[in-house]
Symmetry: none
DNA sequence: TATAACCTTGACGTAAACGTTATAGTAGGT
DNA sequence: ACCTACTATAACGTTTACGTCAAGGTTATA
């Protein structure tokens, strides 16, 4: 269901001179390509994470290959336990300010990279904490000896078993 | 505010023959002893995690030393970031899956934890790779090499960096 | 017996990231 | 023209682990 009738937004060039018309995606197509849902895409738009590049004459959202790439990036970051707000921070860095001189651009890039690095460090720390947490949970669960499963209320077991010998 | 007037529940023995009357705790006392809130205890009761051993004549919830121990266990498990539902499972009060014996349940929990750990390890690896990638870019940007200034915006980097070079 | 400090049930509020209607307009094929 | 599949906006529902009233009983103490 490729859509041909489109509205030109004020800023967008009439048509790419090199190609005979860009290939747009509807919201459903983009969602399917990325294995997500239409609702999710509309929600991401609300969150200013990603929006359509234009609308059709009938107000349909239209996306392109750039959208696809960006959405995949968003989803990948989400898979790494970034919250949407954090993703906005990471991906929003590029669009924040338009620097003009090369020095300003360089400085801006430097700051972006440093902020990205900081966010990644934070994520690594969070995940590391989660990991040691899970390891503690595993020790707890693995510390359970079989006799404990039969314990009479109030009976005492060994140390590791302490959390699991509590009966109703 | 130790409560003396109590109602005997049908199942509970009249009174412990060894002690001259059990020492009951009101919900507020139990909460304070464990550093939690009354609301939390009532919520745990709703979740079937822990309830009063009996009620007073005036319908007050009454707990005992056993409750105290159990509540501490619950809170300890929570400290390990078990969800309340997981705590129910670990304590053998509830099985979401079709496993019926406590051993099977524990084995299920163990496997789930190991999977989670593997997932987290993978994420940490990815993030670590992204981090060193960004560090490489930072070194590039911070290097004195002027030609490098020409290729930064939108230029392509290596694999790990793909999520961060996506523009709006 | 009055009073403070508890306790009771009930019910609504919170945050994140969507899911799920409901109602109505649109794209494309026959 | 008509049908089907898709899309639009709007708005309410879901989950977790409680917080926070509200309106009213209860307990122990003065």
């Amino acid at each position: 269901m490729a859509i041909r009738q489109t509205i030109q937004t004020s800023e967008s060039n009439p048509e790419s001179p090199l190609e005979g018309g860009e290939d747009f995606l509807t919201i459903g197509e983009l969602a399917k390509l990325c294995g997500t849902t239409v609702r999710t895409l509309r929600y991401y738009e609300e969150m200013d994470l990603i929006g359509p590049v234009k609308r059709s004459t009938g107000k349909y959202r239209l996306y392109n290959q750039h959208s696809l790439k960006r959405l995949k990036a968003i989803m990948a970051l989400q898979g790494l336990n970034f919250s949407l707000e954090e993703i906005l921070e990471v991906l929003g860095l590029y669009s924040k300010s338009r620097s003009y001189t090369k020095e300003e651009q360089l400085e801006h890039t430097r700051q972006s990279l440093q902020q990205q690095k900081a966010l990644i460090d934070e994520k690594i720390n969070q995940l590391t904490a989660m990991k040691s947490d899970i390891e503690a949970r595993l020790r707890t669960v693995e510390g359970v000896c079989h006799p404990c499963l039969e314990h009479i209320p109030g009976d005492s077991c060994n140390e590791q078993c302490q959390y699991l010998e509590v009966h109703p």
